[in-house]
Amino acid sequence: MSNNKLHVNRIHLHFLLKQMIRIRRFEERCVTLYNEEKIRGFLHLYNGEEAIAVGVMQALTAQDAVLATYREHGHALARGLSMDIVMAEMFGKASGCSGGRGGSMHLFDSSQRFYGGSAIVAGALPIAVGIALADKMLQNQAVTCCFFGDGAVAEGEFHESLNLAKLWQLPILFICENNLYAMGTALELEQSNQKIHLKAASYGLASQVIDGMNVVDVEAAAKLACSAIRNGAGPHFIECQTYRFRGHSMFDTQLYRNNDEVEQWKKKGPLIQLTQWLKDNHQIESDELQAIELAVDKEIDAAVRSADAAEIEPVENLLKHVYTEVSHG
């Protein structure tokens, strides 16, 4: 499967597969729940891109910080947020990971240093720079990992953040999920230079492009980058080439791409790729795969049930959390 093999073993590969299946099936259930109007707002799904969040998270420790976009269910789950609190959040319930105030685009869990969930394209990058700056100043041995899309690269905030990160030699891992489209706008209409990793290199960052459909490659690249960062090598940039299998959000008629293209990419999908390799190499039995799928479905069912049953935040608390409740002065 990969030249860049780590000490991957059967158990770890099964774990990676399970993580990706968790995300894929979670997203599929979200579609149903959206159609049932249990989930509302904008809903952006991660189908096809699972290998990135799952692979990268393997390189991170509990001390590290993670920031993502509005397409962040996968990152939240891979980071370790329970399905229960993520699902409850999307149901708008008080037990949701953001108290029902954030929804699909704003999942948070500060206990896991999971800092969202940002719906302004490129808007989390400067924040990531700041978190890394704080960790550096406080001499925390932490990496800040920031995920964003190819579209974000055109934003001024991207430019400013990369410059600052390198200038200050901060411990950041930038992960660009290049899925070739920003909503309906293809990469070649977004970027005068479509080689995103080269653009990052122009700031002096260590930068590379990898197959974002191959979870082992992603894990390997992220681990190398993180260990360099931990050794003081400054920010790293990884462009992960990937594709989203579904529309941008639930409101996308996908006029801008043809089905052939989608089908071609689906064949290279991260779940298919890993499953096939495991099967070809006799590293997984059908019943093992079924067991994984069953466990995942149970987990999702339980999350849906608990979200359904959860309480909503009392309306009296509408103004809560705008400011910290303290007295001072």
Binding site: M105, A154, E155, A182, G184
Partner: protein, 334 residues
């Protein structure tokens, strides 16, 4: 006559402008191939081609500034910022360039750009996607700010904006796009800088605009059944503000209730109130009231979101209160 939606009305206005004037083009994120974030521009790429319907990269300062520059250069750009939330990224260009260049150059430079943006809450999009910043824009000399709240205005205000030699901002509330009504005749549409009384009444003036207009109209309808005859003033244009129409209405009704989807503190509602307190104080038989959004970043959960926004029931409740003889009395400061 057939009904059309607000979305279709906006689209027809854009199409007409593109047809009538070769200097007009539409630029914005996903206005072309995707068909527009709220489908307003759907189909226009097929009709007008990629030279005139330009998909811009995610670079709000860049393409809004480019629109401003193109206007200076002799074109008549319609710039679409997907939503007002992202316009913060272009605000430097709009305020420091579009609004000032004519003045700073001693009148030499015209910036006939039109910038459209969707805005408002109600779709459970949470804190970063639900802003109402029309008050902020209306604060800026050099800009004109329109906020259509009817199908007729959605259809015809764009043309007036394009005919204006100065930069014009147009807001379109996301909850209005599916609203349907018959399209009125063009001649019936008031000039863009005039407020319009959408419903006459003599008991109180409900002053509103854009996304809250239909709520005010609903409330007025229900108030009627309670024997309260509300007038509804649709500002339509927030800068310049048609103070005459506001004062004229309040002079007749003696009561002013302002309905505004932005946060109450320092929103557009404050300026309407201040106008009356300055120029029409003696008309008043009751304190001016404002029904606005709660002072909270708009939450995702449906019940919280709805609780944070102005609602018909609230308008009715406040209006009723205002009609009670001594309720004009002092309440506790917030």
């Amino acid at each position: 006559m057939d009904k059309i939606t607000f979305r279709e009305a906006s689209r027809a206005g854009i199409a007409e402008a593109l047809k009538d004037d070769s200097r007009v083009f539409l630029i914005g994120e996903d206005v072309g191939r995707y068909g527009g974030c709220y489908a307003v521009s759907k189909g226009l790429l097929d009709s007008f081609g990629a030279q005139r319907i330009i998909d811009a990269p995610l670079a709000e300062a860049g393409f809004v500034g480019a629109g401003i520059g193109a206007a200076i250069g002799g074109m008549r750009p319609i710039v679409e910022i997907m939503t007002v939330n992202f316009s913060l990224l272009a605000l430097d260009q709009i305020i420091n360039n579009a609004a000032t260049l004519r003045h700073m150059s001693g009148g030499q430079i015209s910036v006939p750009v039109v910038i459209r943006m969707s805005c408002g809450a109600g779709k459970q999009l949470a804190a970063q996607h639900s802003h109402s910043f029309e008050g902020l824009y209306a604060h800026i000399p050099g800009l004109k700010v329109l906020y259509p709240g009817t199908i007729g205005d959605a259809r015809y205000m764009l043309k007036m904006a394009l005919d204006d030699p100065d930069p014009v901002i147009i807001f379109e509330h996301v909850m209005l796009y599916n609203m349907e009504a018959e399209l009125p005749e063009k001649q019936t549409i008031a000039p863009m800088e005039k407020a319009v009384i959408r419903r006459t009444g003599h008991d109180l003036s409900i002053i509103t605009w854009g996304g809250c207009l239909y709520k005010a109209m609903d409330a007025a309808e229900q108030l009627k059944t309670l024997g309260i005859d509300a007038e509804v003033v649709d500002l339509r244009c927030l800068r310049p503000l048609d103070r005459v129409t506001i004062l004229d209405s309040v002079r007749r009704t003696h009561k002013a209730l302002i309905v505004d989807e932005s946060w109450k503190s320092g929103g557009m509602s404050a300026e309407v109130s201040a106008t009356i307190a300055e120029l029409g104080l003696w008309y008043l038989d009751a304190p001016i009231n404002r029904v606005c959004s709660a002072e909270v970043p708009i939450p995702y959960a449906y019940h919280l979101e709805q609780a944070s926004l102005p609602q018909v029931a609230q308008i009715i409740a406040v209006a009723k209160q205002m009609m009670e003889p001594f309720n004009a009395s002092i309440r506790d400061p917030l």
